[in-house]
Amino acid sequence: MNQTLTGKISERKLRNRTSFLQALRNSLTMAYRGLLKIRRTPEQLFDVTFQPIIFTLMFTYIFGGAISGNVHNYLPVIIPGILVQSVITTSIVTGVQLREDMDKGVFDRFKSLPIARIAPLAGALLADTIRYTIATTLTFLMGYIMGYRPDGGLGCVVIAGLMVIVCSWCISWIFAFFGVMARNATSVQGISMLVLFPLTFLSNAFVPVETMPDWLQWFVKINPISHLVTAVRDLANSGSIGWDFSISLIGAAVIVIIFAPITVKAYMRKA
């Protein structure tokens, strides 16, 4: 066995704090671990593959005629809406999987290592952006196949896609928090759906706001999901970046600032 095991303590550089750089490096390693896991269990990607395809088809053909007169006119409305809904719903899975992962022994080892406390969480969340990317790409692709030709051009569509991915990563911290707090994976799923279902449907994602009663319009207009959907529509359909773009990113940042610390704290407290 290795002679260096003696490991003199005086020779070790001991610090009680982790630098930002170390936190970043640790998180990226943890993200690498997440990607390896996805590669080993590709069936995890079923939902992000089929949900965008099925939902886009269903909603477009069911509501198209009723809302916009025909399917073609509905596409610029529904594609951004369904994109936001699909990708954010996908971020629930992050919380569920985190819960399952944390119940395994390997998280004990992560806790006993001298790494940044945020890394196991941030890394897992970071790896899941691959899921959001798949869902985003497939939704736009389905739209394209059905005849959606965004006027903003490819560049703006890519920016819109990236924005949705970034915002979903930020929002996934909320579900990560549920994941850390909840007793088991099923309850994470339950709580998260309960929060997300009203939020995505009480928005402008599927129907024009003007058709709703006044009191509901009031909520729909302050709903952050509406702002995100509008921002995507502006970008994809007219290539413009407006107030909704900024407010979406600011809102997403606020979520991280609030939820990342309390999630890490809760994670640390859980034995």
Partner: protein, 339 residues
């Protein structure tokens, strides 16, 4: 010369690897750890012996910064576990009761990821992983997913993962529970080698034999308290080298038989938890002949008699006056008690 060398390999900031005073952890109304003191000299193996639910794992988790003590204090090489947790984590390796490795990944992927997390470069991490897999005889299985690993392979990988950073102090929580005798012996060899190379090891076990075989000092822990502490020989001396078990035919003679046992062997006897059996520590197995003659002289007829090595149960009977089996179980741990 040799002596001086081995001494200088030890930490210079004091000779204690672990100093814990009055550690307490309460879960609900269960005082899992109730004032534990532990002092572990650097460069030694220290055994914590006790049944399931005695508080062994909880104690280790507190020392390894995985659990915050409700009271008391603990230092690892002079660094406080609560005030300087990140420093403590740089000095320890932890191998848990349940293998703390990633099931979905292969052995080499596991080790590389832990190596990267510990600050090794891509190449170094790979090299270190290869080295450790070789040392632990896992090279052939390196690329296979862990799902197909046997219990022994998992434990070895788990221990290998704890050694990546070459920590001066290693916690082993029941390293051999559930292993077959051959793999257990391999694990013992590995543990001895680690200490020979200067590491300090704190291990928990349910088996007196294991603690006896490996540890320089042993703490017996029961209901969250240390009830006895000393070298293996000191502990054994307190309970006798071997243990007598005696069952007699006529229950009416029970008290009389107990008196004779105590007279002949000169020790205090106990009644086994299953009832009906007299147990007593024996310093010398040869004394059993005297005992048999004495029993025949008063006409007590035997049903069963055996002389055994002391079991954990008897250590407990001797030290605490109650058996392992009436131990209140920690609900989070398994109910099975190995004696």
């Amino acid at each position: 010369m040799n002596n001086i060398n081995s001494h200088s390999a030890r930490p210079e900031n004091g000779e204690w690897a672990v100093e814990a005073h009055g550690l307490v952890k309460v879960f609900g109304d269960n005082r899992a750890v109730d004032g534990v003191d532990l002092n572990v000299k650097a460069g030694t193996i220290y055994g914590v012996l006790g049944p399931n639910g005695a508080g062994k794992t909880t104690t280790i988790r507190m020392l390894a910064t995985l659990l915050r003590p409700d009271a008391g204090s603990a230092q690892i090489f002079g660094h406080d576990v609560m005030k300087e947790p990140q420093i403590v984590r740089q000095l320890i390796g932890v191998t848990g009761q349940y293998a703390s490795v990633d099931e979905t990944l292969s052995a080499i992927e596991n080790l590389v990821i832990f190596g990267r997390l510990l600050g090794l470069g891509r190449k170094e991490a790979k090299q270190k992983a290869d080295e450790l897999l070789e040392e632990f005889g896992l090279t052939e299985a390196a690329k296979r997913p862990l799902k197909n690993f046997s219990g022994g392979m998992r434990r070895r990988l788990d221990l290998a993962a704890s050694l990546i950073s070459e920590p001066p102090l290693i916690f082993l929580d029941e390293p051999t529970t559930g292993l077959d005798p051959r793999t257990r012996n391999q694990m013992w060899e590995t543990i001895r080698l680690l200490v020979k190379n200067g590491s300090t090891i704190l291990l928990t076990t349910q088996y007196l034999q294991e603690a006896d075989e490996l540890a320089d000092r042993i703490a017996v822990i029961d209901r969250g308290r240390v009830v006895a502490e000393g070298t293996g020989d000191e502990l054994k001396a307190s309970i006798g080298r071997s243990s007598l078990q005696l069952k007699i035919q006529n229950p009416l003679d029970f008290e009389k038989a107990r008196r004779i046992v105590e007279q002949v062997l000169g020790v205090k006897s106990n009644v086994s938890p299953e009832g009906g059996k007299i147990t007593a520590p024996m310093a010398d197995a040869d004394r059993v002949t005297d005992l048999l003659i004495a029993l025949r002289a008063v006409g007590i007829q035997l049903e069963e008699l055996s002389v055994q090595k002391p079991s954990l149960d008897e250590v407990f009977l001797a030290i605490t006056g109650h058996g392992v089996k009436d131990e209140k179980q920690d609900p989070t741990e398994e109910m099975e008690v190995s004696v």
